[in-house]
Structure formats: C-alpha cells, structure tokens
C-alpha cells in the first residue's frame, strides 16, 4: 500500500468477551503506545462484539475518522470469528482462498502432527483486494486492506487477538508500512510522582495545563501515582521541540521536588531498584496479605536480579514464625496484623535473606477478616535496613479503601513508597498515601 499519510489512528478491538466485560482488553493500549512511539497519535479506541453489522459499522466509521485503523481479534478458526467477513463486506469483496496462507497453515499444523480441518482452513480466506499477513506464532493470518468510505480512506490492518501473535505480526508486517506525517514532530515526556495529591501538584504550576498550549500538559492519578504528561506536536525541528518539552519539564520538576521518582514510563518498583543498584544494595520482601504481589511487581522489571534477593510469602502464622522468626508472643499479644508483627517480619527477613533492606506487608485485604478495631483495609508495612543505613526498624499503618484487589495493589504501592523515601534519606511526607 502507498501514499496514505498516517497522521493519526483509530483502534478497534473485537470480541463478545471484551464488550461484555468478561475479558480485559490490553491490545488497544499496547498498539496505541507503540503508535505514539512512532509519532502517530491514536484518537479513539472502540470495542464491539462478534456481530457482523456492528463490525462493519465500526470499520466504516473509524476509516472515516482516521487514515489508519488497527483492528485486533475475530480472526480465529471458529464460527464467532467474523472479522474477515466484516472486512470483505466493507470492501465489497468476495472471500478468496490465499494459497500462500494455506500453505503456511498446512505446514504449521503438519509440524505439530495435525491435519488442516475445515474450520482451520477458513483462516486462509481473505477479501479479494486484501493481503494476508504471515502469522509465525499461530494459525490465523492477519489482513491488510485499503478501505474507501464517504469520509475518506484508511489503511486497515486486522491482527490476531492473542498478544503473543499480535506483537510479532505488528513488528514484522505493520510497522514497515506505517507512514507518519512528514515534517510533523511529536515529543512526549512523562514525569512520575509519589506522595502528593493531584490538586496540590497542579496548584504548584498554575496555568500549565491550558488546553491551547503547545507543549500540552496533562496530569493523571492512578493507584497512588501521579503522572505529568508533556507533549509537543507541531512543525518545530526535533531539537527545538525537545527544548520546548525540556523547558516545561524543568518547570514541573522544580515545583514537584522530592516527589519526582521518574522521568519516563518507569514504575516505582523500577525507580527503587535503580536506586538500590546505584548503591550496590540488595532488597528482600516478606509478604502476607499481598501473597507475592510486591515480589511480582519488583521482578517484572528486567534486570531486577541485580538488586532483588528474593523473599518470603508468610501467609499463615506458622510460616511467619518458621520462615522469618516472628515470635509467638507477638502474634498472641498483637495479632498478625500489627506494627509489632510487621517489624519482626522485616527484621527477620533482613537477617535470613542477608539483604541490605527488607520491606514487609501484613494486613486485611478482605472481603472477610475485618473487625471494628482492624477493619478491612488495615495494612502495616515494616521496613528494616542494615545497621550502616541507620535507624531502627520502622512501621507505618495504612487504612486502604477499596476491594480486595485494590487493598493488595495499594499495600504493595505503599511499601514501595516507604522504601523510596527511606532510600532518599531526608524526611518522608508526614502522611504517606493512605497512612493513618
């Protein structure tokens, strides 16, 4: 395909399981983030079910809104996979069998000792004017076509829903065909903060979010983290655009002070790990109500092994005693959800792991287990450090709103926040996140 400039894009996710809320759509986010990296701005995501009319309507409408449409899902071998039929209807095409696609499908199944069933063979069909995109990680080829509608025309790419098939096909068969607008410069920057409310952060830089400004600035709060977004879009040369973004970023950074933990799309876990690596220190975790979630977040960061030793999931009281040496009398006197227990968990985890820092979490995630004295959402975070890093074992008490998943996510975030401010030295915020 040629000539169409992809100034902006729209994304379509397809599937009853998505639109009805059974399955979370992660593809739209993935594709729009990658488009942004390439200088193509996504203006809309849409999700519709496995319904031919809805699919045809959505492909038509999005093709009139944006010169690039990326659809995911509905390409599989079963009767509820209707994307190729919908694309054919939009194009006014018949479906034809693609001999290369059939050959690849046959080869793929044969290598697994299987034959091509009638259902599997459907996947080699394509609208007559569309092209098949090779799938190296599954049976369903993708499709690429130029769609002409009243409002204009668009390059439409239909890709498989499973991310393990989608991503390689995206890299191999779509990215080389993308044509960002020549002369358009897009530069984005993210500044991430912990431990400051959204309104307070915004009030420190009045007027910065004017909607007609360029760079344009926005702010988002999510799970205890604030993210400033700075974005230049215009005709400045890349260096000049970068300087404009830098000017705004500096103003924000100066005003936010110690709350800034990252420039860029970096998690708080990654920022904590970077600090530890720079100091040549290791971290360990002792988790009760989060059950391994904090360790999972830490080890989601590539290269985490340089600063993360490991940890203990002490879900039962027996394992709190046997694994990290919490004393029976502490449990008897204060219970497992207490500052005393959190301190002993952190101190014991530090000793038994040989790490330099150890953070512990014990709490009541719910829905059951709460009491008047210790309601659901009560979480204690303990923090122990090697003698050289000074100070006794500390603990903070949080009262976290929300359901089980929220309490667990926020408990892990609170632990990382405590660690972040402890690693910085200086005074932490007097009241951190959901601290009581």
């Amino acid at each position: 395909m040629s000539a169409l400039v992809h100034t902006h894009a729209a994304i379509l996710s397809i599937g009853d399981e998505l639109v009805r809320g059974q399955t979370l759509d992660t593809n739209s986010r993935l594709i729009s983030a990658r488009l942004m990296d390439l200088g193509i701005e996504t203006i809309e995501h849409a999700t519709v079910g496995d319904d031919l009319d809805a699919l045809v309507g959505a492909i038509r409408r999005l093709s009139s809104r944006a010169p690039l449409v990326v659809a995911t899902g509905g390409l599989g071998p079963t009767d509820d996979d209707l994307t190729r039929d919908a694309l054919a209807a939009v194009l006014g095409d018949q479906l034809v069998e693609d001999s290369d696609a059939l050959a690849q499908l046959t080869e793929r199944l044969r290598s697994r000792g299987r034959d091509v069933s009638a259902a599997q063979r459907m996947q080699a069909l394509r609208p007559a004017t569309a092209r098949c995109l090779r799938n190296d990680f599954g049976t369903a080829p993708g499709l690429a076509a130029r769609v002409r509608v009243d409002g204009g025309q668009a390059d439409v790419f239909c890709l498989p829903g499973p991310p393990g098939e989608l991503v390689p096909m995206w890299e191999r068969s779509v990215v080389p065909l993308l044509r960002p607008q020549p002369g358009l410069t897009i530069r984005t920057r993210f500044i991430k903060l912990i431990g400051i409310p959204e309104a307070e952060a915004a009030a420190r830089v009045p007027g910065i979010m004017a909607r007609d400004a360029n760079p344009q600035v926005g702010i988002t709060a999510s799970g205890g983290i604030l993210t400033w977004r700075i974005r230049y879009r215009g005709t400045l040369a890349p260096d000049a655009a970068e300087a404009e973004v830098e000017r705004v970023a500096r103003r924000i950074t100066d005003a936010m002070g110690e709350h800034v933990f990252a420039h860029g799309e970096v998690s708080l876990a990654a920022a904590v790990l970077d600090t530890l690596k720079a100091r040549g220190q290791m971290l360990a975790t002792v988790e009760s109500c989060t059950g391994g979630l904090l360790g999972a977040q830490i080890t989601a960061v590539p290269g985490s092994s340089a600063a993360f030793a490991g940890g203990f999931v002490t879900y039962t009281n027996a394992l709190k005693q046997s694994q990290v040496g919490v004393r029976e009398q502490t449990l008897a006197a204060h219970g497992a959800v207490s500052a005393a227990c959190a301190r002993e968990m952190a101190a014991g985890g530090l000793e038994r792991s040989g790490a330099d820092w150890c953070v512990s979490i014990t709490g009541i995630a719910g829905p059951d287990g709460g009491s008047a004295e210790k309601p659901v959402g009560t979480v204690h975070v303990g923090l122990a450090r090697r003698a050289g890093d000074g100070g006794p074992v500390e603990a903070r008490r949080f009262l976290i709103p929300g359901r089980r998943d929220d309490v667990r996510e926020r408990a892990a975030m609170s632990a990382l926040a405590m660690l972040w401010f402890a690693l910085r030295g200086g005074d932490p915020p007097a009241r951190l996140l959901w601290e009581q």
Copy 2:
C-alpha cells in the same frame, strides 16, 4: 429520571492517558460486566482523549446508539478534565454551581484540614439540567443527565475514573436508576477449560456456534485458558431460559471431559484452591523467575488462606540454597534453570512449609539471560506432594513464547495446570500448554 428502558448500553472512557496507551482502561470491563449481571447488554466501548470536540462527538454518537451511556473519567479538578464541559455542550446547558455538591466538597476537604481551592471548587459545577451524584471516596461528584439527540435519547451517567470512587458511586447512585427491559430474560454461563487447543475444542461440538442460535455460543482463548460462553436472550421465562442454557452447557461439558475446570467466572487458581480445600490439604510455592506472581494469583482468591500456606521467592541462587535447600552441586552441574533444580525447590519447599503440595518455578523470563541451550522462555516447573499422595517429585519443561511478562504469566499458568491435573489424578495431557 424516568421511563427510558435500558435495553442496552454503551460505555465511554475518557482520558489522553487511556487513548494514547499510557494507562490501561479497566473501567469499561468492570461496568459492562456489572451491566450484564443486571440484564443490560453493552454493545460498544469507546475511548477518547481529553479533547472537547471528541468528547462531545462521542457522547452524542453513543447516546444515539444506546439508551444508556456510562462515561468514566475527566471529572477531576485540573484543566484537562473536560467531561462536565462536554456534557453541558451536548445538553446545550450552562454550567451552574451545585450547592449540595459544594457543601459536601467543603466538608470533605475540611475534615482533612484543607480549604477548597479554586480548582477544587470547579468540581461542584454541573450542567443546569444535570444532577450531581455524591462521591463518598473522592472530591469529584458524578453527573447524571437525559441527553436527546437525533437518533433518540439516552440516560448518560458520568462517573469518576479512579475505580475506588467509581464502584461505590455506581452501586449507590446508578444501579437503583437502571431499568432493564421488562420481560426480557438474559442468562449466561461460562465453562472454562485448560490443556486443549481452541480448534480441537470447537471440533468436538460441531455447529454449536451458529450465529442465529439462541442460546448463542462463543469460545475464547486467552493465556492458555479456553472459555465457552453460552448466552440466552429472549422472552422465555427465567426457568425455561435456564433449562435451555443448561442443555447447551451439558452438551459442551460432556464433550470437553477432564479439561473443564470451572463453570462460571472462576480462575484456575480458584479451582485448584477449591479442590485442595475439599481434600483438606495445603499448598506452598517456590518461585524464581515469577518472583511471587503465582503466590499473588493464588492469594487474589478470597479465602485462599484455607488452602495456601505461603511460599518462598528464591530469586538468587543463594536463597535457593538457604531457603529451600537446593544443593550447591545441583546448581553447579545443571544450573538454576533445570529440572533437577525445580525438583529440589519443590521438595525443599514442601518440607520447610509443612504443606501437602508444593509447586516450584524456575526459568528464564528474558529479555536477557538466554542461551542456545536454554533460550529465553525456558521454564521448569516442579511438583512435590506428601508421601500419601504418591509418586516421586515430578518436573516438566516448557518453552514459552513471548516477552518477559508473557513468559512469567504463562509460567504461573503452567504451574497451576500441572497442579490441576495432578490433583485430579488420572493421566495429565501428554503435552501440556507450552510443554516441550
């Protein structure tokens, strides 16, 4: 509001961070799942950025498509929060200050020792013909209005983006106002499978996914799990509708045999825990490359403490030795990513936790650390059981495609799948998921 029957719904998510792929939208899924429970079917999700024209266009369009529109996000105190302006534009209304909302906002901030800033005060504005919805967990009230557009009319609810504010407002202020279609019966059923490919599952029940059938049937593959969806929508009485769904469900269940692990929206972790609880047995985990992810998935299930003792995150070789007794010569001879190491991890975790079952994971999640002999994605899962449950410690080798996150998620899924088939007794599939 009165009279409008909410036969179906559309959902709008608002935010630059969502449409550009910085943040994953989880609200649309949440709302559509809850609507489905109430018998209201969602026909579309749309996501647009913090752009007044895009917002106005989306609210208008969705109001012409569905009699119920639920929007989330863009209600905060900062200049990029434009939902109330967009709703006012659609309604042709001025913004007016809501005295109750202002009083509540003032009270909320005062209880935290803060005054109402000019930015905060903006949140008490509403379009003249809209109503404010009380927010008990944040500063931004929601909005409710009746929108009339060319294609029809819709009840539009604008709710805050943070799930901790959204969910309580949904329950308290929106659910009581919803009016599902009288006489319409919707019944849904999910059947979840592990260890069978999608095409093979579909081939066992030919014709069941005919698009004009009622109950309608669909199937989805995600992360190793297959889900059959059965859905009746029509005028049958609830009992008769239930019987129809049951008839189809039985046909599928009979054909799927030992691969069925749940009827309903139950995770494989929850199914494993239920089996353990029924046997009065406890599980422990020993995780290396997943870093706690398996423990986090298990403890995401409410009540998991009845069958989950805890575990060990043995990220370094030193902790593999000290925490669960992996032998130095095993690491020297085979490396940490080996069947021998996985077996010793499982056996050591079983012994030190006192649990009845212990599952271990060791592998190379990438992006670095791979070799020709052990490429990225190589994962060994070990499984040990108390002597009474028979058999030696087993281990299986998987070669998992995808990026770091995929490998970790699928490694945890593989461990749960091994555990599932081991708990069932009988023969597990000869080749399980990504097994080599």
